[in-house]
Symmetry: C2
Subunit: 295 residues, 2 copies
């Protein structure tokens, strides 16, 4: 056997993302020779065992991380600092700590006090997901052709960054290294704001009168259906993301609200030109996505 990227990889929280990493690593043993999965939730452990997601499935965090060359935290961003605080003292020197959180500034601030000089911390946010969650929702190709954004802190050993990039390339992803604040702004517009809006519009529909709501469900045209797909995502994960990226998110939400108000004014005033210009801009963005092979 050739040397794997990590002899032992430990996934903390084998949900949608974590179980997808494990599934891919099981298919490609050049990623890790030994796979460990930890969770504190008995029903997640039971599913992880039934699905044979890892060589070892355990509810003992200290034991799970002790031998790992890479510990990957796949828990909601609000839980990352607490789990990191518990895992770090048990990790071996030279190991790498990583997480897959969707917000960076707040997680970094939470994790920093617990970091050790002999354990590199290399956060990596894979921009992939579905509206489903839990160990059964994962699949080995989830990260194919998707971006994974690495936001290492100053003085991280280049070798640790390179190994994390190698891991995500082996998952099928493209990687880019990015500044923490920039990461949070980009994700606020491309992911967090769209989710916030999808949740909100579904809530708006839900508050309509009973008779109307039933017809909303009956006649959900494609527009609304796409929104509900986004809005079906895991509540805890998204609550944490919204609260942890609140500054960048509220900035883009403000901007969006202004734009929505301008659009309302244009419709109220019959301002054809503004309406068409807004629609055309949406189409331009779409074309760019298609050219970038993101659509």
């Amino acid at each position: 056997m050739t040397n794997p990227i990590f002899p032992t990889l430990c996934v903390v929280g084998p949900g949608l993302i974590g179980s997808s990493v494990l599934r891919r690593a099981k298919l490609d043993r050049s990623i890790a020779h030994r796979l460990i999965a930890y969770d504190r939730n008995p029903s997640v452990l039971e599913r992880a065992r039934a699905l044979e997601l890892a060589d070892v499935v355990t509810d003992d965090l200290t034991a799970a991380v002790a031998d790992a060359d890479c510990v990957m935290l796949c828990v909601p961003v609000g839980a990352i600092p607490e789990v990191a605080a518990k895992a770090l003292p048990a990790m071996k020197p030279g190991a790498i700590l990583t997480d897959v959180g969707s917000t960076r500034r707040s997680v970094l601030d939470g994790v920093l006090p617990f970091l050790r000089p002999d354990v590199a911390y290399v956060p990596a946010h894979p921009m992939a997901g579905t509206e489903h969650s839990g160990p059964d929702a994962g699949f080995s190709t989830l990260f194919e052709q998707r971006w994974c954004l690495l936001t290492p802190i100053d003085n991280t050993p280049p070798n640790a960054i390179a190994r994390m990039e190698a891991l995500w390339h082996a998952m099928g992803a493209r990687t880019r290294i990015m500044d923490v604040e920039h990461h949070d702004k980009v994700c606020a517009i491309v992911s967090h704001l769209p989710h916030l809006i999808a949740f909100t519009i579904c809530g708006t529909a839900d508050t309509l009168a009973d008779e109307m709501r039933s017809e909303v469900l009956d006649f959900a045209a494609s527009g609304f259906r796409d929104f509900t797909r986004i809005a079906a995502s895991d509540p805890t994960m998204w609550r944490d993301i919204f609260l942890h990226n609140r500054k960048a998110l509220l900035e883009v939400l403000d901007r969006f609200s202004d734009d929505a108000k301008n659009m309302a004014d244009a419709i109220r005033g019959g301002d054809d030109a503004t309406i068409v210009a807004t629609i055309e801009r949406g189409r331009r963005i779409r074309r760019s996505l298609i050219e970038n092979k993101q659509a």
Copy 2:
């Protein structure tokens, strides 16, 4: 040959919807024995001929509608009254005029002055579509399992309504008869508001600084990608819908804006309970859609 629903069916505007109707009717000659397509745009006529969408493809509206037992207007809602005014005097007694517009009150007000007592007007709004437009975008299964909402006016002969329902059932759609105002309210929430929001958020992304915009495109996560898909729809069609359903649309937009503001306040204030409650409502709507086989 058995009697078709309409011996001759004329589609005015063979775009996404119109060409899909023609494609289905070509496959199922029990819908109509003779198919006529009219457009004023030479490039649409050329594609309609190349695609052999109808037995007759013409740029002569009077000739196109003269023999038709059903004239179906598949043009943007803003153009329906004008086209109806030109078509109606040339139609034969006993024929049915229909359109597929997404807004009803304004179209009805525009068409009413031109109606003839011997031609039934039975509008039917098929709740189906894609982000593509034009004769090449249509396909024969577009209406399968989708709803088609009929909004006949008072004193419409029941037989005319029954024939229009039969046509849409033959298209694979389910039909429901609905009051004009109620139609406009339901569609404002399930279709028009989601589209308005998708256009707006794409516009918001477009106004970001150049560096950021390029990364918005690079890293468009699934959330944003779905929005751009919706936002890729035809500008003229959507401008008309927004302007023609402005009252109902502005009402639901106001309500959505209030809900978005409440969500922003909850995020700003760290109000976990409100955030989770909003997310859970989105998920509930989604589950209902899945139970209703709309997702």
